[in-house]
Structure formats: structure tokens, C-alpha cells
């Protein structure tokens, strides 16, 4: 019964989307907006990665909302899991093997460095705050796997989250008061394209996003691993 209803619903949605996609030929150039971004991104924002210039330049406000969504989810996860009267260590932990522990001690700083590289070069190469943040979080995941009893300092993680979020908002508000008098306007000098210190506020914002996403995702992993029962 449920299957039948589901399949009918699915068929309706399927036909609808198929009809609609018929109006959007695959592979054909169609938008003015996209062309405009590609043409003027380097002059407008100074970033050579056009996707980055859209994410942190033209549509930076979306990105602010998006980090907020992740912030909401991390907080919500904490609230949901803490509601039963939190705390307690992790039960049933077995120490990891020697290889994992030694390998982790060697890899952990390297992975952190790699993550930092990814988010600080987001305006030049593929990658950026989200990818770099995820890589940093995976370094912490590795720590949890190799030494299950270990915990990151919740206070420090929360402070990182809040402060890096505040950096983003403050940069936006500075744009409102300085320079172009627009929220998130690029008020720093754009520099020479294809160098690390270019593109004005983009690297600053991307570093803040990287730290924020990293600490939030690490917090999510930490929250789920913690035994509350």
C-alpha cells in the first residue's frame, strides 16, 4: 500500500521534473549572470577562482547564512544530546593499536596544515573554507579513533566557533561603514591576482569560515561520540 502510493507519487514528481528538464538542454550556455561573473570576477573581487569569488564575494551573504546553518545544527545536536543530563566519559573504549597511535601522532599536524593550506588558498585554487574545515575536522576524527578517551576542550571549540563567526559578521559590518558602504563590501586592497595576499577580504573571510566549519564539524563528531546514557 505504502509502496504503491510512494511509486505513484514518485512517478508524478518524475514526469514533472523530466518535463521541466526538457526546457533546460544539457551543456548549452544559458545564463547572463554566470557569464558576467566569469568576465568580471577578477576585476571585482581579485580572486582567480571564480567559484570562490561568487561564494565569498557576490553571494557572501548566502555563505554567512550557511555557516549559521551549520552553527545551528552543531548547537542543536549539543542541545538534543545534552538534554538528558549530559556528561560522562566514553564507555567501552579500547586503546587503539600502536600503528594507529604513532601514525596519528605523525599525521595529525600534517592534516591540520593541509586543511589550513586549503582554506587560505581558496581564492587561488580549488578549495576553500568548507573543504579546509572538513579536512581539519577529519584530523580530529583521527584523534578520536586513535585515542578514544581523548576529548577536545569544549570551551575552546565553542570560543573558536563564536569568534570566527564574529570575524565574519564584523568584516561585513566594516564593509557597511568603510569603503563602499555596503554589507560585506570588499574594503581591503585587492592586490595582484594569483598571489596569496590578494582579493581583499576573501582570504580573511575564508580563514574564518575554515576555522568555524572545522570546529563545528569536530564538535558534531565529538557530540555524537560522547556517551550520555
Amino acid at each position: 500500500m505504502r509502496l504503491a502510493v510512494g511509486l505513484i507519487l514518485l512517478a508524478v514528481i518524475g514526469v514533472g521534473i523530466a518535463v521541466s528538464l526538457g526546457g533546460i538542454p544539457f551543456g548549452a550556455p544559458k545564463t547572463v549572470i554566470g557569464d558576467h561573473y566569469v568576465d568580471s570576477a577578477r576585476d571585482d573581487t581579485g580572486a582567480t577562482n571564480v567559484v570562490t569569488s561568487v561564494v565569498v564575494g557576490y553571494r557572501a551573504f548566502d555563505t554567512l547564512g550557511e555557516v549559521t546553518v551549520l552553527f545551528v545544527a552543531a548547537l542543536g545536536l549539543g542541545a538534543v544530546l545534552a538534554a538528558a543530563g549530559g556528561g560522562g566519559g566514553r564507555s567501552g573504549v579500547e586503546p587503539a593499536s600502536l600503528i594507529l597511535r604513532v601514525g596519528n601522532a605523525f599525521l595529525f599536524p600534517l592534516i591540520l596544515l593541509f586543511g589550513a593550506y586549503i582554506f587560505s588558498h581558496g581564492h587561488l585554487t580549488p578549495g576553500g573554507g568548507f573543504q579546509g574545515g572538513a579536512i581539519i575536522a577529519s584530523a580530529f576524527l583521527l584523534v578520536y579513533l586513535s585515542s578514544p578517551g581523548k576529548r577536545i576542550s569544549a570551551t575552546r571549540a565553542r570560543a573558536t566557533e563564536s569568534l570566527s563567526g564574529l570575524v565574519f559578521v564584523v568584516v561585513g559590518l566594516l564593509g557597511l561603514t568603510l569603503g563602499a558602504h555596503n554589507f560585506l563590501a570588499n574594503f581591503l586592497p585587492k592586490g595582484v591576482p594569483n598571489t596569496l595576499f590578494s582579493a581583499g577580504i576573501i582570504p580573511v573571510v575564508y580563514c574564518a569560515i575554515g576555522l568555524k566549519v572545522g570546529s563545528e564539524l569536530a564538535g558534531v563528531v565529538d557530540g555524537l561520540m560522547e556517551e550520555t546514557g
Binding site: R2, L9, G27, V50, P193, L224
Partner: protein, 119 residues
């Protein structure tokens, strides 16, 4: 061949959306539902990226000096999908937290046993 060329990504994206919706409609195990959500998200992202693709285009990054503006794929869907991926993982994380909570309260992941409320 040209059929494949025109539609293969759309078929892939649409197939993922369909499987994700199917899981959401027929399964009643909470973790399975969340897996369905994740597959659905991937499908939607695939759809958005395929919409922005331009045949023969290059990635929208001026990585070499000689690269011209013409013939780059549309950067906007890529930016949107970056946002959508992060929003998707946020929903998944919260849902998994709720699943853990649910298991602790009820001792099961099966939503059919949730007698507290009417489904």
C-alpha cells in the same frame, strides 16, 4: 551516443533523487531514512551542477595566465551546491543526534513503534 551525452548526468541525478525519495517513502528505520535524505541531497546537488555545465567548458578558475573567459562553465550552480552540501550535512548531523536520542528513549530505531504520537 548523443542521447547518452545529453542525458546521462540528468539520469544519474534523477535516479538518485528517485532512490532517495523511495527510501523516505517506504522505509521506517530512522537511520535508513537519514541515508535516504543523504542520497536525495546528493541527487539534488548533481542536478544543480548538471544544469550549470557547458559542453567543452573548463573549470571556472583562472589557474593559468592564458585561460580565456569564454568557455568556462557556470560558476553559480557550483557556489549554490557548496552551500547546499553544507546545509545538507547540518541537517544530517542534527537528524543523527535525534536518532541517538530516540534510541535512548525507545530502545529501537523503528518509527512504527513510536506510539507516543500518531504518524
Amino acid at each position: 551516443m548523443s542521447f547518452l551525452h545529453d542525458y546521462v548526468y540528468y539520469i544519474g541525478a534523477f535516479g538518485l533523487v528517485a532512490v532517495g525519495l523511495l527510501i523516505l517513502l517506504v522505509k521506517r528505520n530512522l537511520i535508513k531514512l537519514i541515508i535516504g535524505l543523504s542520497i536525495l541531497d546528493t541527487g539534488v546537488n548533481m542536478l544543480l551542477i548538471s544544469v550549470g555545465y557547458i559542453t567543452g567548458g573548463t573549470a571556472p578558475i583562472f589557474s593559468r595566465p592564458g585561460l580565456s573567459e569564454g568557455g568556462m562553465v557556470d560558476p553559480v550552480p557550483q557556489a549554490l551546491v557548496l552551500t547546499a552540501i553544507v546545509i545538507g550535512v547540518a541537517i544530517l548531523a542534527l537528524a543523527l543526534g535525534l536518532a541517538v536520542r530516540f534510541y535512548k528513549n525507545c530502545g529501537t530505531l523503528d518509527l512504527r513503534t513510536a506510539k507516543e504520537l500518531k504518524w
